[in-house]
């Protein structure tokens, strides 16, 4: 049996709550872009991940889906606790701020972010329409645009900041956007696949952490301005 998020979204109260969570996720993404301090960015990521966990929990309750409870629990364990703790530990050795790491000035970057989120809204149309195929509207026009906007804004964060923390947080917030998409359109994906995907994220966290530490040891900074030796 295929879970239909549209079932959840057909209930007005639930729809409002879920859309509210998603708007919260989008706002944290914008705030990450304008954050000046490394720690602020990590805290915003924690808040964003917590909202993702809540989204999974509420959807799980309404679909009576045990897999989504597990996703919610794993999100809290890995994204709200483990990843931020790892990053904060690294920050003990480098207390710099991020104000100098932006490739362009803040207003320009926010314009780019708005364009990126608009792209998300634009691309969601065909997805939501096509989701109605076969009589089962699995994808909802309510949430998919916001989720795609989060994904594309994460790309902006990665591309327009020149420090390893922002780039790593950008990648993890990209993953948050994808988690939301997976809950919205593939809530009943086999649980084994969800668990393996989560484990995979955990491994990626470790790899990112190791490489970030290596970069810090080599260059003595978290900035990626020096990473321009390899060209051509």
């Amino acid at each position: 049996m295929v879970a239909e998020v549209s079932t959840v979204l057909s209930q007005p109260a639930t729809t409002s709550v879920l859309v509210l969570f998603e708007i919260g996720v989008l706002v944290t993404e914008f705030l990450m872009l304008r954050a000046h301090l490394l720690r602020s960015q990590v805290r915003l990521y924690m808040a964003q991940s917590f909202l993702v966990a809540l989204f999974a929990l509420v959807t799980g309750i309404h679909l009576d889906n045990n897999g989504l409870y597990a996703v919610s629990a794993m999100a809290i364990a890995v994204k709200v606790i483990l990843v931020p703790v790892l990053i904060i530990r690294l920050l003990r050795t480098d207390q710099g701020d991020l104000s100098q790491s932006a490739v362009m000035k803040l207003p320009s970057m926010l314009y780019v972010a708005l364009l990126a989120s608009a792209l998300g809204f634009f691309m969601a149309g065909p997805l939501a329409d096509a989701g109605k195929f076969g009589g089962g509207a699995m994808m909802s026009s309510h949430v998919i645009p916001i989720e795609l906007a989060v994904v594309f804004m994460a790309f902006v964060l990665i591309g327009f900041r020149r420090d390893v923390i922002s780039q790593m947080v950008g990648f993890f917030s990209l993953e948050n956007g994808i988690t939301l998409i997976s809950i919205s359109i593939a809530a009943n994906m086999p649980f084994v696949v969800e668990v393996v995907t989560f484990f995979d994220l955990l491994v990626a966290v470790v790899a990112f952490g190791l490489l970030m530490r290596l970069h810090h040891l080599k260059s003595g900074t978290l900035s990626t301005h020096a990473l321009e030796r390899l060209k051509g």
């Binding site: 065909p126 096509a130 994904v151 994808i178 990626a204 990626t224």
Partner: protein, 497 residues
Amino acid sequence: MKVSEMALLCIVLLPVVATLASYLLGGMWRRATTLLAGTITLLLAIVVASRVAGGGSISVGSFISADSLSAIFLVVTAFLYAATALFSIGYLRSSYGSKAGAYSDRFDRRFFVGLNIFCGAMSIALVMSNIALIWVSIEVTTVVSALLVSLEDTDGSSEAAWKYILIASMGLGLSLIGVLVLYAAAAPILGASHALQIGYLDHAHGLAAETVELAFVFAVIGFGTKMGLAPMHTWLPDAHSEAPTPISALLSGSLLAVSFYAILRFEQVTIINAGSAFPHDVLASFGVLSLLIAALFLLVQRDMKRMFAYSSVEHMGIIAIGASFGVPIALAGVMLHVVSHGLAKGTAFFGAGSFKAKFGTKEIGKISGGISALPWSGPLLLAAVAALSALPPFAIFRSEIMIVYGGMESGGGVGVVILLMLVTLAFGGLSWHTIKMVMSPDATVESPSRRGEPSIWMVVPMLFGIGGLLLLGIHPPAGFLHLMDSAARELSGRIAR
């Protein structure tokens, strides 16, 4: 359980055992175990390939299976697993052995543990029957190979590793969206538990065409990032040039092919449900762009390994264009190209490793007299470059002829002309730089101390690679031809429906 099913299961389990052994055992045993695991995996891959050569598939449980398409990629991955294990024995000693402190038991352990996990993840990706699990395996290859790229602990390697993991992970994020969108399209027809199973998707009709096309675009951009398709290829020259050379050989010869395999699985579903025009146009666009960028950058390279990295981008472009032609002869050519590129690029990188060990540099301008200094590796590197340049009698000559013929047959004359022009341009760059390194005279190499190979272990895998290229170019074994045809039928048969 049948022998072929047992072989398939062992392909999954063997790298796990080899990884544990590499972690627990000492230096010599660690190398021996890895070499043994690679060799047995190659033999098992040949057993599996021979079983599926005539069509059909082998399955073990719900999540492990192989058909002719996956078997072709499996054979080339297993070959490079064995060849790299062999090459690494000599390479690690000759490249790091003399540097005090740089080469330690810890380095050796990390290298072989990483090598086994990397090869295991690639093999597992090829025998997974669920598209989400293919994605997971390819993501594991990214994580492990990024750590392997950074292993030499230099400024260049840490920069390359960071760029690689960031760009590849972003790409894989997009491909995961592709997986999810495909699930959304397939679940209403196939049910939640079968929606991502290849065996069901291969025969699934009636999926929403627009959704499947969207999934395909996400897959091509996402997995295409790992495959090295332009413009998402920017991580590739850095990672391939800065990684330890055996890892460069695996990245180039095998990992790019595994990512292409994932794209082909999406293409199959797209062709069945949305027709062939859209996926072929997408592949042709990325293919031509990759070929163009690689051909231009090949002309101006100053680093030997970077040059081979751009050659990989070139060949991925050729493969994408070949797949876009869609007719059986072109698809069979693509299958042959995947195998022969793996053999040739592995051999070329092994040669680059020998040159680096001998001359102490990767800079093309600082290397000369290669054929005198390295009496085996010099000519073998030259032969590998001749193969990569599609000169007869090597297998890439045969595969490119098949692709060109297929292009003409499918009415893609413009594509064929572009392909031939850009391949010729790339040939110019690649051959010019290599001939300069290998054939130009160097007065200093006549002294006996400078002549000779760094290690015989580094020569043997090159001999196997060139031998394979000659065999497939002159007289391919009948079993391999059946396998190639069967894989091409599997892909093109969907078009006919």
